[in-house]
């Protein structure tokens, strides 16, 4: 089944049916925010949100996870979790980031089983944005508020009902498995969805990003990095909220009488990031760290895996405590 219409009032039935063999997560109101939370039989879904504060990458690349334990003097790898999940309400920017991350966590030489198993076990149902925020700039980076990249199903909020369109075999299979709950969409409904997507796209301000990789390379020694980084406080907000950031480190920890190796998210903005055991740090200034962050996203990943590692979700812009604005950095670099 490729497309289906379901009334919002019927969603609880769909969730119940899916919950039989998968953990379902969806957008749930939590005070003023909407979070991606587990859906119970009575959980009310929220459709009144821009995006989750935290990026969806955390479902596949969590902030921390135990990868091995020391058992009888041997390091024993723990298996990745086998849980099947259905993620509902993922915005297209977050979905677009997932194939980028897969390129990092899986190549000809290495595979990260923890990321890959989780991704394999998940069905991503994106929800197209009808009202992008003024800080969103996905269209400036090859994305769209109705973008289809990275999801298994793209859903459109048509008011009282949702139109679901399968993008992958996994998506088709999910719709087919619950066919009875869906109606065939009318032409009017399909058109309404397309128009909603086009209107959302048109409403967004665009920033110029052509040639950003070459410009970033040329700007390596420019003074702008130290100037902007003068106010950077070296926290991890931009990195931890970014859908495409993926640096991680390992920490060996003693918990009671157990020794475990924990894989943790890391941020190049932290002063400790390149601190070597000798005490030497090749990046001594915050300008060097900021430059690394920008170069990694706009130059190095382009060379390594062929993608700019930014999907224009705007979280770094919104949540930076000192108002460092990536859109301004892109503009400065391009000059």
């Amino acid at each position: 089944m490729e497309k289906g219409i379901i009334g919002k009032s019927e969603l609880a039935k769909l969730v119940e049916a899916m919950a039989a063999d998968a953990t379902c997560l969806g957008p749930v109101k939590d005070g003023q925010d909407t979070v991606l939370a587990e859906l119970g039989p009575d959980t009310e879904l929220s459709f009144d949100y821009a995006n989750f504060r935290l990026p969806v990458k955390r479902l596949f690349f969590p902030q921390s996870e135990v990868t091995c334990v020391l058992r009888d003097g041997q390091l024993v790898a723990l298996p990745p979790p086998d849980e099947k999940t259905v993620l509902f309400g993922v915005r297209p920017c977050d979905a677009q980031a997932l194939p980028y991350l897969t390129k990092i966590f899986s190549d000809e030489k290495y595979e990260d089983p923890y990321y890959l198993k989780r991704r394999e076990n998940a069905v991503i149902v994106s929800l197209a944005c009808h009202t992008p925020c003024s800080t969103c700039f996905c269209t400036s980076l090859g994305g769209s508020p109705a973008g289809r990249a990275g999801c298994d199903i793209l859903a459109f909020d048509l008011g009282h009902e949702l139109l679901l369109e399968a993008e992958t075999e996994k998506g088709k299979a999910l719709l087919a498995a619950h066919e009875a709950l869906f109606a065939a969409p009318t032409d009017a409904q399909v058109t309404a969805a397309a128009e909603q997507g086009a209107a959302a796209e048109a409403s967004m301000a665009k920033i110029e990003t052509d040639g950003i990789t070459e410009k970033a390379d040329q700007a390596f020694d420019a003074p702008l990095w130290e100037e902007i980084a003068a106010r950077c406080v070296a926290c991890g907000v931009c990195t931890y909220l970014c859908p495409t950031c993926h640096c991680f480190g390992f920490a060996d920890e003693q918990v009671g009488n157990r020794t475990q190796r924990v894989k943790c998210q890391d941020a190049c903005m932290f002063p400790l990031f390149t601190l070597e055991a000798s005490g030497h740090n090749p990046r001594t200034t915050q300008g060097q760290r900021l430059r690394q962050r920008i170069m990694h996203k706009f130059s190095y990943t382009v060379k390594n895996v062929g993608e700019i590692f930014c999907v224009g979700c705007g979280r770094c812009v919104l949540y930076c405590p000192v108002n460092i604005d990536l859109r301004e950095i892109i503009e400065e670099v391009r000059k």
Binding site: G31, R53, S134, A230, V233, Y240, N323
Partner: protein, 333 residues
Amino acid sequence: MTKMQDAQNRLRETVKDLFAQQKVDLVVGFEAGSLPLRTRVCFLTSADEADRLVWNAFCTNNPAVYIPRLFQRPASPREEYKPPKLGIVAKACDARAVHKLLEEHQAPRENVTIIGMPCRGMACRDKVVIQAGDEVVEAVESTEGAVEIKTRGGASHRFELQDLLQQACLDCPQAAPEHVDVQIEGASRRDTTRRYEGLKNFEAMSADQRWEYFRHELSKCIRCYACRQVCPTCYCKTCFADMAKPRWTGAGDGLSDVMFYHIGRLMHQAGRCVECDACTRACPVGIDLKTFTRKLGKDVERLFDYVPGLRPDEAPLLCAFEDDDTEEFVTDG
């Protein structure tokens, strides 16, 4: 011209003077931000940059956080130490933080010129967004005491600043910045009678309820350390939370590790936190840190009659002693 613009102009002229008299070679203040309801900290190195400075109800950052970094000694002893002559634009909370840092030898006193601003309190962005009910796309502080905004949906609203004040401003123990080197003329807030009113709900909770609230809030933590990094009095070169030998607390977002980090940081802030709420504003997941810092501050005030940064000549709390201090609590029993 609004009164706020008066103060802004007086600030700009004062800064130009300070540069001209060579009293400063670096000024940290606020300039326009790229988002509505925001300004950003700026670093000026000459008088001709002074017109970048702004002063309004969105000047929420605490610029004192940059002092340890600006006065850091070079890594090599062979390199000459050239500390700046710093001018720092300061609200009352910022000035308290500066004094705490001076007391802790983070900068030579003679190198810091505190420019006290007429502060009527700052607008809480969350309050504005809640009252507007929609994304704010434009915000202006118009005539004194009002904030005018436009929303994404096209609506316009006018709010009184007094209805938008941050909790830090409602709780501020000072009617205006004190112990400053230069005071920019203008009306400051004044009402210091509402101090700790915001704690009533938390204080009415039982111990179990408080623990549940603490647990619920901290379960959101992602260990980004924004709280620590924006805090002016958190400046350890290696934070205890980042140490591996000994590993005081795990690096991940497990609740036990998260709590240990936060409890540790709070305890390190006891007697030092100036309650500017920079930590709460910086937190990307909306943890109600200010309730915990404020409760700690209230306990410190109640137990020791001490408010950090309020009376700079006072001995610092918990790190000063006299030879004849009682030792009964150690030797008894």
